[in-house]
């Protein structure tokens, strides 16, 4: 039973986020639970990052497809709201994957570091261009040193 549950959780958690393909929904903290009920039905519980996140339907479909590929065809994907998603739910490997692709963490003070210049040690000044970016969970910034724009995950 434990093995099956772990397998289901791994499959569901390994589904890539439809909009940020470099991270999995497990790493983003979107998957809240995955288990097999007594009647053999698989129940996966997910939570939205933002309530209007348009990726939620795609995520539900992707979870069902991934589990179906592993032989689990009777799958129910439930959505829960509590506790509300927060950036603290993103895992360490999730942050690393985001950073590798040029998406910055919000930073302790709410000001992110430029992902291109961060490795130089000295933090470079950055400017917020917009509180909203290509996905609801990101904001748009510009580095005043390298002048490149970058996205950062919004603190929530």
């Amino acid at each position: 039973m434990t093995t099956v549950r772990t397998e289901i959780a791994e499959i569901a958690g390994a589904v890539p986020d439809p909009e940020l393909r470099v991270v999995t929904i497990g790493e983003l903290g979107i998957v809240r639970g995955a288990e097999k009920a007594e009647d053999g039905r698989v129940v996966v519980t997910i939570t939205p990052t933002y309530s209007g996140c348009p990726a939620m339907d795609a995520i539900r479909d992707d979870i069902r497809a991934a589990l179906a590929a592993a032989g689990h065809t009777d799958v129910e994907v439930r959505t829960v709201l509590s506790p509300a998603w927060s950036t603290d739910m993103i895992t360490e490997s999730g942050w690393a994957a985001l950073e590798r692709t040029g998406i910055a963490a919000p930073g302790a003070s709410g000001t992110p570091a430029c992902p291109r210049c961060a490795h130089r040690g000295q933090p470079t000044p950055v400017l917020q261009i917009s509180r909203y970016a290509s996905t609801p969970c990101q904001s748009l910034w510009s580095c005043r040193s390298c002048l490149e724009p970058f996205n950062a995950i919004k603190k929530l």
């Binding site: 309530s51 209007g52 917009s130 909203y132 748009l140």
Partner: protein, 235 residues
């Protein structure tokens, strides 16, 4: 349907859900027309947040599609502010008008969602807690723009003051029952933006009882046309 009468809080949920749904539809008018690309994305994201909150609230109050697509104007419980055009007249899109509208609306939504989050109904509290975080961003976005427009050029100041004068009366219905707390959020922004807080005179209402302006009918005609032509349509 779990029964509208069963949930004591449903009247509030329906009103809140309708505020968010109608606001989402209004804001969507800006898509591809905002002054900058960043603002276009911002307004679209705020509209999406509103739609997300609306879906959660309406799905709790009943069948979300039935409620969104099958009710006539008299069945909607949104406040009048939510349905007003985002400019002085029907079909107008005025940015200062929109930011004033968003400041007023999101301040009220933030307070009502905060109250919902503290309520006894666990499911509704979850929706409230989720929406509080998003409303905080909306209020902040509107605030930043009010400061820039109010303290900007002679023209930007004049136009945002006109918007404030035009929309202010609708704040009575919007913030009914929470007016003092609402004023405590809105007035400091107006003061910092150098804008004159309008005097309280006319108090249009009726939205909560289903008596709406003509603007809601036009909005619904557009929002519901596809579903009415093709009942049950999905994509």
């Amino acid at each position: 349907m779990s029964g509208l009468a069963e949930r004591a809080t449903t009247v509030d949920l329906l009103a809140l859900g309708d505020d968010a749904l109608i606001a989402a539809q209004r804001l969507a008018e800006w898509v591809s027309r905002a002054p900058t690309l960043e603002e276009d994305v911002a307004l679209a994201n705020i509209a999406l947040d509103q739609l997300g909150a609306a879906r959660m609230l309406l799905a709790t109050a009943g069948d979300e599609d039935e409620l969104a697509y099958r009710r006539d104007d008299r069945g909607f419980r949104n406040c009048l502010l939510a349905e007003l055009p985002l400019g002085p007249g029907r079909g107008d899109l005025d940015f200062g008008w929109t930011m004033t509208w968003l400041l007023m609306l999101s301040a009220a939504q933030l307070l009502r969602y905060t109250d919902l989050a503290a309520g006894a109904d666990e499911h509704a509290a979850g929706i409230g807690a989720k929406a509080v975080k998003e409303s905080t961003y909306h209020l902040d976005h509107a605030t930043q723009w009010m400061l820039r427009l109010g303290g900007g050029t002679e023209q930007s100041h004049r136009r945002v003051q006109e918007a404030l004068d035009g929309l202010w009366p609708y704040g009575h219905e919007l913030a009914e029952g929470i007016r003092d707390r609402w004023l405590a959020l809105v007035e400091p922004v107006l003061a910092e933006a150098g804008l004159t807080r309008p005097a309280d005179r006319w108090r249009p209402d009726g939205g909560r009882a289903g008596r709406h302006t003509e603007h809601l009918s036009f909005l619904l005609a557009e929002m519901q046309s596809l579903h009415r032509a093709h009942p049950g349509a999905q994509w």
